[in-house]
């Protein structure tokens, strides 16, 4: 088994303007996802919007307001999962509810 990080990217603007019925559906979607893939999920969290982010660059000793990269679809949450291979990880990722955006599946690096 390998571990994969599923990064959830979505349009914050669209999400902020979403109807309560849509956000409710999204929450239910995540609960259903977590129930279905209970055995595969190692961890996961939703993140506060990028407006709350702070970027730190230790080499130049700077601390600035905002996310590391400004993108229309921003990182809004993640799941850490366990899967046999990439196909299995993709199959799980396809069950993650997204609003308008998409997901990035990244293998966790293994150090020997």
């Amino acid at each position: 088994m390998s571990q994969y990080l599923i990064l959830i990217y979505d349009d914050e603007q669209a999400w902020a303007e979403a109807k309560p019925s849509d956000t409710g559906k999204m929450m239910e979607g995540h609960q259903a996802f977590q129930a279905k893939h209970q055995s595969a999920i190692v961890g996961g969290n939703a993140l506060e919007p990028t407006a709350t982010a702070t970027t730190v660059r230790p080499n130049s000793d700077t601390v600035t307001d905002g996310p590391f990269a400004e993108t229309k679809e921003a990182l809004g949450g993640y799941y850490l999962i366990e899967a046999a291979d990439l196909d299995a990880a993709i199959a799980i990722a396809k069950d993650v509810p997204v609003f308008t955006g998409g997901l990035e599946v990244r293998p966790i690096m293994v150090f020997n």
């Binding site: 291979d85 990439l86 196909d87 293998p107 690096m109």
Partner: protein, 386 residues
């Protein structure tokens, strides 16, 4: 392939098997089941390598699941091995370029220098691209296995896209001095035949194999003695490869039995109409238009719409053809497409609207990147000069 546990080693074994094939077949003739023969040779070679170098100990990535080494003589195992390999090479998580490159390298046994030539890039660029692709397979955990029955149709589609790309790139080279890249066409045909033996029940595979055969059957008549382009209308049909046509037509019939028919089956059916017409004028253009109508439904694309419009011109006259082309001028995907301008030019010429035809030919000449096509269009333009 599972035997080696290492894609690089697998690559060498496939190479060696092809080299052995050329020597042995030269001496004793081609065996009945060439695919099985190659896999068996590659597997034996892999076992040799394993014993000698214990390669898998060095880096055993998760390319392969743990299982006992199957007997090389088990015939049921052999098609699976190649299906496993081609589905890995054509995994949608790899870039299209990487998919084609890996397929040429591992399925066709081409050397890195030959793959580089196929892509018109330097050998070092190709070596880096192949290394990146293999690294992704290993570190992202792209499985080295036959897709499940549920996944198979999607994965075969991905393989077919790669083969189709390979074939079209060979049939009309997108750039460069030659119209046809024979090597690429041969590879596409070889792989399509292989895929056909691996998933014989798949109608799309039958359709693509038919399309390749029926298109390739015209190869001898597509260029003249000096390498110039000869249009379908002017081709010497006695030079067409009748054996390929017969095989292709049989496959088209089989592929069209599935409802709705697939995109490749329909394209092959159109090629079959041409293949069976004794000459250009006797072509059943209404049938061609009808097939394009269905194709537009299952595979809506501006290029298909363009081909349909051209067929309309032949079925109902140049005026009708121009009318069918008109709405496509606004299509952004066709804005830089030489065929739209050249089709318009030829209809305009037939209508005696020479001034407009000259403009359209000039536009097509600017847009095409194939030298043979450019020369052909230039000749047409020169013939039109007042």
């Amino acid at each position: 392939m599972r035997v080696t546990r290492d894609l690089d080693a697998a690559e060498e074994c496939v190479q060696d098997a092809y080299a052995a094939a050329l020597t042995t077949w030269g001496e004793r003739g081609v065996p009945a089941n060439t695919g099985a023969w190659l896999t068996t040779v590659a597997r034996r070679r892999a076992l040799d390598l394993l014993r000698r170098e214990a390669l898998w100990r060095r880096n055993a990535p998760l390319l392969v699941e743990d299982e006992a080494v199957a007997s090389p003589s088990d015939p049921a195992e052999i098609p699976d091995d190649r299906l496993r390999l081609i589905c890995t090479c054509c995994h949608p998580a790899l870039s299209t370029d990487a998919q084609v490159a890996l397929t040429l390298r591992l399925l066709c046994g081409l050397g890195t220098n030959e793959v580089a030539r196929a892509f018109l890039v330097s050998e070092s660029t190709m070596a880096a691209r192949l290394t990146r692709a293999k690294k992704k397979i290993a570190s992202a955990g792209i499985a080295y296995r036959v897709p499940s029955a549920a996944e198979l149709p999607d994965r075969v589609d991905a393989v077919l896209s790669v083969l189709h790309l390979l074939f079209t790139a060979g049939h009309t080279a997108p750039s460069g001095a030659d119209l046809v890249r024979r090597d690429l066409v041969e590879r596409a045909l070889q792989l399509a035949r292989m895929l056909r033996t691996l998933v014989p029940e798949n109608a799309d595979v039958a359709g693509l194999l038919a399309l390749i055969l029926l298109t390739d059957a015209r190869r001898a008549s597509r260029t003249d003695a000096s390498g110039g382009l000869v249009l379908l209308a002017e081709q010497d049909r006695s030079q067409w490869d009748r054996a390929e046509i017969a095989e292709g037509v049989g496959l088209v019939r089989e592929a069209l039995r599935r409802r709705p028919p697939g995109r490749f089956a329909l394209q092959a059916a159109i090629a079959a109409v041409h293949a069976e017409a004794p000459n250009w004028h006797a072509t059943d253009w209404s049938e061609v238009v009808a097939l394009y109508d269905v194709l537009l439904q299952v595979w809506p694309s501006p290029v298909v719409a363009l081909n349909r419009a051209v067929a309309v011109g032949f079925a109902r006259g140049p005026e009708a053809g121009l009318a069918a082309l008109a709405p496509l001028a606004a299509e952004p995907q066709l804005a830089a497409y030489a065929y739209l301008a050249s089709a318009r030019a030829q209809f305009l010429q037939q209508l005696g609207r020479d001034e407009e035809a000259r403009l359209a030919f000039t536009e097509a000449i600017v847009l095409t990147e194939n030298d043979v096509e450019r020369e052909f269009l230039t000749r047409k333009l020169e013939a039109l000069q007042p």
